[in-house]
């Protein structure tokens, strides 16, 4: 099984295995970060995610705050205000209690920082060797305000594409620790909760069409998913994408495309042209959106295809990363 890269193969699992097995209409809809359900007249956003990151601690965060922020962000991408979170742990027998304590406290702090609460949980212990230290699952519910309609299928030609800041930091930070490769400067994960940022964004630009947190598969995967779900083309101005110099250098060494590298505290927003400047200003005014930029435009040409325009004028097809890095060059 090689389906973890967040690219093409992951979405194939959903389409070919879970969808037929579960038979739920909500799963059949375009892939989204959280699902919105009508419950007794209230619109409830609901999501779940499991965290298996290695190492557990890394510059800029740990598995604990990642699990809290990730689920908050999945709720926020539906325009929801987080209400409460659950946490489930799978612990490897013999795990150092001090490690669990650090992770738990990081989760508490992250929830508090995001103005939400961890209200229920579960713990299982598996035999030594059956888990890599510790795994965390978090689920979350949130409330979606009336009049907010955000979804990956709602992008329209003419929309501007915004990102909330520098991309590539989380993935490079993890890879750097994991491989022991130093790149001169230490690159820190951008792990952050985006609920507050989305609230500010919605206030400034109520007509937001689509939101995505470009986690696994990076910005490229998020753009491809929205292009496919909305049946539109996206033209990305590659020079406008904020890539920090150390990230660019590290990606050069590792042979990675920064657009394919994971982020844990960034969002990409599809906003009607008329509200794009207001949206940009709102993002830049927030601590988690200071590096925001307009990076692209939605077109009705090449539906389903994301095209990058390089500073030299050439254009390339940008696609989702595969599970493995397999060069296409002959």
């Amino acid at each position: 099984l090689g389906h973890g890269g967040g690219g093409l193969l992951g979405s194939e699992l959903v389409e070919c295995l879970f969808l037929p097995a579960f038979g739920t209409a909500e799963l059949a809809a375009a892939p989204r970060d959280s699902v919105v359900l009508e419950v007794g007249g209230v619109r409830l956003a609901f999501t779940t995610d499991s965290y298996v990151v290695n190492p557990l601690f890394f510059p800029g965060g740990c598995i604990g705050d990642l699990a809290v922020n990730g689920t908050i962000n999945d709720l926020a991408m539906s325009g929801a205000t987080p209400v409460a979170l659950s946490a489930g742990f799978i612990l490897e027998e013999g795990l150092d209690m001090a490690v669990l304590d650090r992770v738990a406290r990081a989760m508490g702090a992250a929830a508090k920082n995001a103005k939400t609460r961890l209200v229920t949980g579960d713990t299982k212990v598996v035999e030594r060797g059956h888990a890599d230290g510790l795994y965390v699952n978090t689920s979350g519910i949130g409330l979606v305000a009336a009049g907010v309609h955000i979804g990956p299928e709602r992008a329209r030609p003419g929309d501007r594409v915004l990102v909330s800041g520098a991309i590539g930091e989380h993935g490079v930070a993890i890879m750097s620790v994991r491989s022991g490769i130093e790149f001169g400067t230490t690159i820190r994960s951008d792990s952050a909760p985006l609920g507050g940022l989305v609230a500010e964004l919605l206030a400034a630009a109520p007509q937001i069409h689509a939101l995505r947190d470009p986690t696994r598969g990076g910005l490229a995967a998020s753009l491809c998913e929205i292009a496919a779900a909305s049946r539109v083309g996206i033209v990305l101005d590659e020079a406008a994408v904020p890539v920090p110099e150390p990230v660019a250098a590290a990606c050069g060494f590792l042979g990675l495309d920064p657009l394919h590298v994971a982020n844990e505290g960034k969002l990409v927003a599809f906003v009607p042209d008329a509200q794009a400047e207001a949206a940009l200003a709102a993002l830049r005014a927030h601590r988690y959106g200071a590096g925001a930029a307009i990076v692209g435009t939605v077109t009705d040409g090449h539906p389903g295809v994301v095209v990058g325009r390089t500073p030299l004028g050439a254009t390339r097809v940008i696609d989702r990363p595969l599970g493995e890095q397999l060069p296409r060059i002959c």
Partner: protein, 782 residues
């Protein structure tokens, strides 16, 4: 009434002729035959076929069917001739012989055959003579053509091939042209693109940033003046815009490189004739024939050391691509300027060549100083073809204008119509039905959005024109190729074909091999059936299936594609992580590798060492192409590759002067039932020789000799064990002339029969044809 004795001896026949029979003067030829032999009846285009219904004496009818084959016009290719009874009444005695109006589809008779689009034909000698004859009414007319020459595939919209389905339909013929068109005795009888200054297309001139002012001869004069003054002109050629400048002017060639964003990849040079070609490069009889052949490809030649040409035309290589004029406009430019001209695709970087006038002006605005266009619309984009002479025979490197989309045979017929979508780089696709394969023209790297569009446009165009509606789509196993992803959007049956099986099958199929053969696929990279990257493979194969017999040892690609772009990284990959077979592995190269490591940035060496150790983005590949890259870096030939295959080409150029170099040590190991070439002894000996200050050119030649000797040994053993002597050589590395000539010589000496690609490129441009051949065989098997 048929009551007379004469009529009783009459025979009436319907003859359907398939193949390349339209746009090559076939109907006029049949017409002249019919008249000469006193037959009654008619000839017409019918779908993609030419259909004849004729009546005459039994003897005359026998001679007719014989002469259809023996006396056909030079550009005609008869693929099938079916003779039967007339569909309706036999032609009346004494009614004479006529060319009649073309039949519209649906076609009759051989309608399982695709309709065939004739390729473009270079200007014939008779038209060139008229072009430069002041007394002729087409004197200096850039659109002169006849039934033996002129545009075809680039102007066609549909079949049967008639003026009404070409972009010439908007030009109403003048009275003089009409007379020629209708006169069976005239060279222009039914020449569909017939034109003259009174009625045909006209040149246009637009200076960069200015507005079109001049047309006709003044336009040509403006372009010539600009070229003479050291400018760059975008010229609307046969299948697209070309960028043209003075090839002897260092400054303008350098400017073209900067503007086109093409720092080192060689430019093709157009010369007036074979004499001019001989002043720039070594032109033997086979090369001369290829240069002057009707498709007029760019021919790769060995440059003369004393050539008078700007050094920046082909920096760092002694290979020079030359071509002769393919269209009247080129003849006029070369005549007026009397010097070699750079003639390169009208595009920026790797985009497809521009065809549309407005698009060209837009896209080439920053590149050209002026635009020499005209009002004959290009319907389909065809770049210049590229060919070379290998082991005495012409071999295509890029199949486009003049060749595509002429049909090729499939040794095992496709029981259902199929589309093979090819690979990713040097992209082509193939449509096949029955035993006919139609390979679309080269477009380029599918990762470029414009190339992807060119691919789907061409596919739509050729599907419509040929009438092939694919019921099966064939693709590579690589899930990331955009061609594979495109295949997945088509809701018909899909067949995946392994990349290197497709390579060797392309060679086997074009030589009509249906039985078992050994396939040597030396390539850059392609995805294997085991999920690893392949590229140095010996297969036991037929068209339907294969078994892997031997491979190159694996090495990591530190950074994946980044290692392809930087051969120095690939060398590090071998030094730090080559597959080890015993304790003489490269990891023990130690002091021998020190000078190489010291030459590279320390941070890069340290990072790559960690990447290899930790397996971070380090896919493993058993690739011949990557080993050539690594050797090029170790020998200080190239650390970076500005274009695909640059390092290997430079290594080859360096080796060229050292014929007869002895092979270096090499070793074959066995792993998982495969014979594996362990390159460690070869590389260690190279490093030792470098330390001892051996000549780098000699080492490069010795490395080529090593790969050839090792391959001959592997093939000889495999041939003996499996009872087959045919060896199909294919893959991108087989474009290395030194290697292929050594392999052909060595394999022949060992009593084997080596075959190389000729009509189909050995590189990934041949993958789609190989895929079609394999899928057809699999489908035929059921």
């Amino acid at each position: 009434m048929r009551g007379t004795a004469a009529a009783a001896r009459r025979v009436a026949r319907r003859i359907e002729v398939g193949g390349t029979v339209q746009g090559v003067g076939f109907r006029p030829f049949v017409y002249r035959l019919g008249r000469e032999m006193g037959l009654d009846g008619w000839v017409r285009n019918d779908g993609g076929l030419v259909v004849i219904e004729a009546a005459g004496s039994a003897d005359a009818m026998r001679r007719l069917s014989a002469r259809l084959r023996t006396d056909a016009p030079p550009q005609a290719r008869l693929r099938q001739v079916r003779i039967g009874a007339p569909a309706g009444d036999a032609p009346m005695h004494g009614s004479g012989f006529h060319v009649i109006a073309s039949a519209e589809p649906p076609r009759s008779g051989l309608d399982d055959r695709p309709g065939l689009v004739p390729p473009d034909l270079a200007t014939c000698a008779a038209c060139v003579a008229e072009l430069f004859d002041p007394g002729d009414r087409r004197y200096r007319y850039p659109f002169v053509n006849c039934t033996d020459c002129g545009p075809r595939a680039t102007i066609v919209d549909g079949l049967p091939y008639d003026r009404a389905v070409t972009s010439m339909r908007r030009f109403a013929m003048c009275r003089a042209c009409t007379a020629e068109y209708r006169d069976p005795a005239d060279r222009r009888f039914h020449a569909e693109p017939i034109a003259c200054p009174a009625c045909g297309p006209e040149l246009t001139w637009q200076p960069a940033g200015g507005h079109g002012a001049e047309g006709g001869e003044p336009a040509l004069r403006a372009a010539v003046a600009l070229l003479r003054a050291g400018g760059i002109v975008a010229v609307k050629g046969v299948g697209g815009y070309q960028l043209v400048c003075d090839a002897t002017d260092e400054a303008v060639v350098a400017r073209l490189r900067t503007r086109k964003q093409r720092p080192v990849k060689p430019f093709a040079v157009m010369v007036a004739d074979l004499t001019a070609a001989g002043r720039l490069a070594l032109v033997g009889p086979a090369e001369a024939a290829l240069l002057a052949s009707v498709p007029r490809p760019v021919v790769l030649l060995t440059a003369r050391p004393d050539r008078r040409l700007a050094a920046t035309v082909a920096p760092g290589t002694d290979t020079l691509g030359l071509l002769l004029p393919a269209a009247p406009l080129h003849h006029l430019l070369l005549h007026d300027l009397d010097r070699p001209l750079v003639a390169t695709s009208g595009n920026v970087a790797d985009e497809p060549i521009a065809v549309d006038d407005a698009e060209a002006v837009d896209r080439l605005a920053g590149v050209a100083d002026g635009f020499l266009g005209h009002d004959r619309v290009i319907r389909a984009r065809y770049d210049d073809s590229v060919a070379r002479v290998v082991a005495g025979r012409p071999s295509l490197v890029r199949r486009a204008r003049g060749y595509a989309p002429a049909p090729l045979g499939l040794p095992i017929a496709a029981p259902e119509p199929l589309l093979a979508v090819g690979a990713q780089l040097k992209h082509t696709f193939t449509l096949a039905r029955g035993s006919t394969a139609i390979v679309g023209p080269h477009t380029g790297d599918l990762q470029q959005q414009e190339t992807m569009t060119a691919f789907t446009d061409h596919l739509a165009h050729l599907t419509r024109v040929t009438g092939v509606e694919p019921a099966v789509v064939v693709h590579d196993l690589h899930p990331g190729y955009l061609s594979t992803q495109y295949a997945q959007t088509i809701s018909v049956r899909r067949i995946g074909v392994q990349h290197h099986h497709a390579h060797v099958a392309s060679c086997a199929a074009e030589h009509g091999i249906t039985g078992r053969y050994l396939g040597v696929a030396y390539d850059g990279l392609g995805l294997g059936d085991d999920g690893t990257l392949w590229g140095g493979e010996v297969l036991l194969a037929d068209l339907r299936s294969y078994r892997r017999l031997a491979r190159f040892g694996r090495a990591p690609l530190p950074g994946g594609a980044a290692a392809v772009r930087r051969p120095a990284r690939m060398a590090l990959g071998y030094l730090f992580g080559a597959e080890a077979f015993d304790d003489t592995s490269l990891a023990r190269a130690g002091r021998l590798a020190a000078p190489f490591l010291a030459r590279l940035p320390p941070l890069e060496v340290a990072t790559v060492r960690r990447m290899v150790a930790a397996g971070v983005n380090c896919p493993q590949a058993s690739s011949a192409g990557r080993l050539f890259d690594a050797v090029a870096a170790l020998l200080r030939v190239r650390d970076d590759a500005g274009y695909e295959g640059e390092a290997a080409a430079a290594l080859e150029a360096l080796a060229a002067g050292h014929t007869g170099a002895a092979p270096l040590p090499w070793r074959l190991a066995t792993r998982d039932d495969l014979v594996v070439y362990d390159s460690a002894p070869t590389l260690l000996t190279l490093l030792e020789a470098l330390r001892d200050e051996a000549a780098v050119g000699l080492l490069a030649a010795a490395f080529h000799a090593t790969i050839a000797a090792m391959t001959v040994a592997v093939c000889s053993d495999a041939a003996a064990e499996h009872g087959t002597s045919t060896v199909c050589l294919s893959g991108g590395v087989m474009q290395n002339q030194l290697l292929i000539e050594a392999l052909v010589t060595g394999l022949s000496a060992a009593g084997l029969t080596p075959l190389v690609n000729e009509q189909i490129p050995a590189n990934d441009g041949g993958i789609s044809y190989g895929q079609a051949a394999v899928a057809a065989a699999q489908l035929q098997d059921g």
